[in-house]
């Protein structure tokens, strides 16, 4: 019972932390009001981007896990305070407009909620005894039990003399260890396989919904012209996005191989890879489509891309696939439309992944040797 209560508390606190982080970033960007869902999604990526930096510093300076937990706790507390101060007014406005927004969604909201509820309950019930589960959850459990970061082989528990580039630089498992360390009594296996799985499912669907809003933007009913201001309530975009989310859910349920995103969403949501394929790549695609639509001018999409990439490398080395996607989608746009001014922001937006790839290459080829001992 105590574990269940702690798990519920951890779920609420972490969601609130991401909401606060997103709200603080929105205010820093000069926005006065924003939706809670967009703040939650942005906050999730920003927090994991910040955590990656914090964790890499602690890991390579051989600091114990408890120090990382303490530092991440301080960071989380600061973000929560800043988020409450920045977002209170906007949240109030957002909460008061829920009935109105539900009317805009209409019956399609039921499809959206059914998809999210089914997946969340499924990941809560699903138990996985696979080798990958042993590795990733084992990494978190080993870090917590030994009070170290990445210095023991998670599958055996034996000491490893050097950090493995492929795993050491993706700090998502240490996030789970740090959270368990802060929530004394919450087993890391519950945090990783139940609490974070549910959060990851929510974020994945939020990403798909965001992509749906980008794919089906607000437009007047007769073509692209805005005929009257009264026709801009956003009813169509919301309903189409809801239907799009349900269709993605359907495809994931009928993804028949272990390689497709569906299996990662349903059975491997405890893994960082699941977040790369079901959230980072989806959001990266949304940014690319926005650029093709030429709706977002300036640095805004690239700032989001930066945090997306920073969080992506925290989740998994497979974040490089998001980098490939962005390059494959945006470079032709730059060439065809002659938008050479996008080149520098694009590189800056992808900087975390590019830097990660460079360091990874150097470690793999022995240019840098990262010892786990002193």
């Amino acid at each position: 019972m105590k574990i269940l209560l702690l798990a519920c508390a951890a779920l609420v606190v972490q969601l609130f932390l991401f909401l606060c982080t997103g709200s603080a970033v929105m205010r820093v960007r000069g926005k006065q009001s924003w939706s809670m869902s967009s703040a939650l999604l942005l906050g999730y990526f920003v927090y994991f981007g910040l955590f990656e930096v914090l964790c890499l510093i602690c890991e390579f300076t051989l600091l114990p896990l408890r120090t990382l937990a303490l530092l991440s706790g301080i960071l989380a507390a600061a973000l929560i305070i800043a988020g409450i101060a920045c977002g209170y007014g906007s949240w109030k406005q957002s909460l008061l407009s829920i009935p109105q927004r539900l009317k805009l969604h209409g019956p399609y909201a039921a499809l959206l909620l059914a998809a999210v509820a089914f997946t969340a309950i499924y990941v809560l019930l699903y138990s996985d005894a696979s080798a990958d589960s042993g590795w990733y959850v084992g990494t978190s459990a080993t870090a917590l039990a030994t009070n170290t970061i990445g210095r023991y082989d998670p599958s055996t528990g034996t000491f490893t003399a050097a950090f493995q580039a492929r795993y050491a630089m993706s700090c998502y498992p240490y996030y789970n260890a740090a959270v368990s360390s802060l929530f004394r009594g919450l087993p890391v296996i519950v945090q990783a396989r139940s609490v974070m799985s549910v959060i990851n499912v929510l974020i994945s669907y939020l990403s798909v919904y965001t992509l749906g809003r980008v794919l089906f933007p607000d437009r007047g009913s007769a073509g692209n012209k805005v005929v009257s201001i009264s026709q801009r309530p956003g009813k169509e975009t919301r309903r189409r996005a809801d239907l799009f989310v349900f269709t993605v859910f359907f495809i994931n349920v009928f993804s028949s191989t272990i390689y497709m995103p569906g299996i990662f969403l349903f059975d491997r949501s405890y893994e960082g890879k699941s977040m790369v394929v079901n959230s980072v790549i989806i959001c990266a695609l949304a940014i690319c489509i926005l650029l093709w639509q030429e709706k977002e001018e300036g640095a805004f999409p690239f700032r989001n891309l930066f945090w997306l990439m920073a969080a992506g490398i925290c989740f998994s080395a497979s974040c490089l696939m998001a980098l490939v996607l962005v390059m494959a989608a945006v470079l032709p746009l730059i060439c065809i439309r002659g938008k050479w001014n996008l080149l520098v922001p694009l590189v800056l937006g992808c900087l975390p992944a590019i830097l990660w790839a460079a360091v990874y290459y150097m470690i793999q080829h022995g240019t840098i040797v990262l010892r786990t001992w002193r």
């Binding site: 189409r240 497709m260 569906g262 996607l325 001992w373």
Partner: protein
């Protein structure tokens, strides 16, 4: 991808990987490609767009607008999503999905087992969902729209098998979502291990003051925990639940022993560390009659394995006891053997 290598398949490697990646879900890929083809065709044939700056306001009057005006919606140049999908598809065909490049680069970067992840770049799931949704919402009559959408999903549901995970859902028996035997076995092992000489020696060595970041301390502290061999069905759950249990087999070794080749790593005759570990498992289950007591004892000493856990019905108990193992207990259908004192 298990069993698919560049050496074996050459230029058809990418095609075989894509086929394995999609499996029976190929209709989604077909919808994705068909959607791109149709929308590109319509986009290229579409009439010239009207001036986007001519906007009719609520009162009916025209007014000129500029980019950034709240009422301004820019004319789309065809379907932006389709252009994005097409761009990604073509770029992938030229680069990461190019069979000629893949044949050279994939083995060079050791990406053969994880090559399938490049197909994540192709937005097949979201692309197919986009075209299905777009087709559904383009139908004006509500009832026909609902029936058409439901019929399409129904046909796809009949054609394509369910996600293998959804089909194999097993409800958990505890909050940790591990086999119920795991917590019981771990507790029994720890209880027994604390009474052994191995534990006493390890604890004594840790009493000396030492830098906690030194190699020696890190090694010594791990020796406070017993090295065990578990049955395959629960092996990967053990360290998730209790990381203070050490395992003799690492992930890749155990998968290889059980016949799983998805890691792409081969442990042949030359890999002594694998041969030693395999000998212990063979002896535990009585899979190899040629293994002698001396050979078993030698490998147990060398590998420092302390506990062997075997399914009660499958244990090669007589041999293990003869070789110096003590039966610690029978718990949750498993027999625990301890080697040495």
């Amino acid at each position: 991808m298990e069993g698919v290598t560049v050496r074996e398949y050459g230029l058809s490697f990418v095609g075989v990987c894509l086929r394995n990646y999609l499996g029976k879900s190929w209709p989604f890929f077909l919808i994705f490609l068909a959607g791109i083809a149709v929308m590109t065709f319509l986009g290229l044939r579409g009439k010239k767009k009207e001036n986007p700056l001519e906007v009719v306001t609520v009162d009916g009057s025209d007014r000129d607008m500029k980019y950034g005006d709240p009422d301004y919606v820019e004319e789309a140049r065809g379907d932006s999503a389709t252009w994005t999908f097409l761009s990604v598809l073509l770029m992938c065909l030229v680069t990461v999905c190019n069979p000629f490049l893949a044949r050279i680069l994939v083995p060079k970067f050791g990406m053969t087992p994880i090559y399938y992840r490049f197909f994540w770049v192709l937005p097949v799931t979201t692309g197919a969902a986009y075209y299905i949704t777009k087709a559904a919402v383009s139908i004006r009559r509500r009832m026909i729209r609902i029936l058409g959408y439901a019929a399409l999903l129904g046909v796809l549901a009949v054609l394509i098998p369910l996600n293998p995970g959804v089909m194999n859902l097993k409800l958990p028996t505890n909050v940790y979502k591990v086999d119920g035997a795991v917590p019981v076995l771990c507790d029994a092992i720890h209880e027994d291990f604390k009474t052994t000489r191995t534990y006493e020696k390890a604890a004594a060595k840790l009493e000396k003051p030492m830098d906690h970041n030194s190699k020696e301390w890190l090694k010594r502290s791990s020796r406070m925990y017993p090295v065990c061999v578990f049955p395959y069905s629960i092996e990967f759950s053990v360290r998730q639940y209790d990381p203070t249990i050490r395992l003799l087999f690492n992930r890749n070794l155990r998968l290889y022993y059980e016949g799983n080749r998805s890691t792409g790593i081969t442990y042949g005759e030359g890999k002594k560390s694998y041969q030693r570990r395999a000998l212990i498992l063979d002896a535990m289950y009585g899979r190899d009659d040629t293994i002698t007591v001396e050979a078993f004892q030698k490998e147990m000493k060398r590998s420092k394995a302390k506990y062997l856990i075997v399914e009660e019905a499958q244990a090669n108990g007589g041999f293990l006891v003869q070789a110096g193992c003590t039966q610690v207990g029978v718990t949750a259908g498993y027999t625990i053997f301890r080697y040495g004192k």
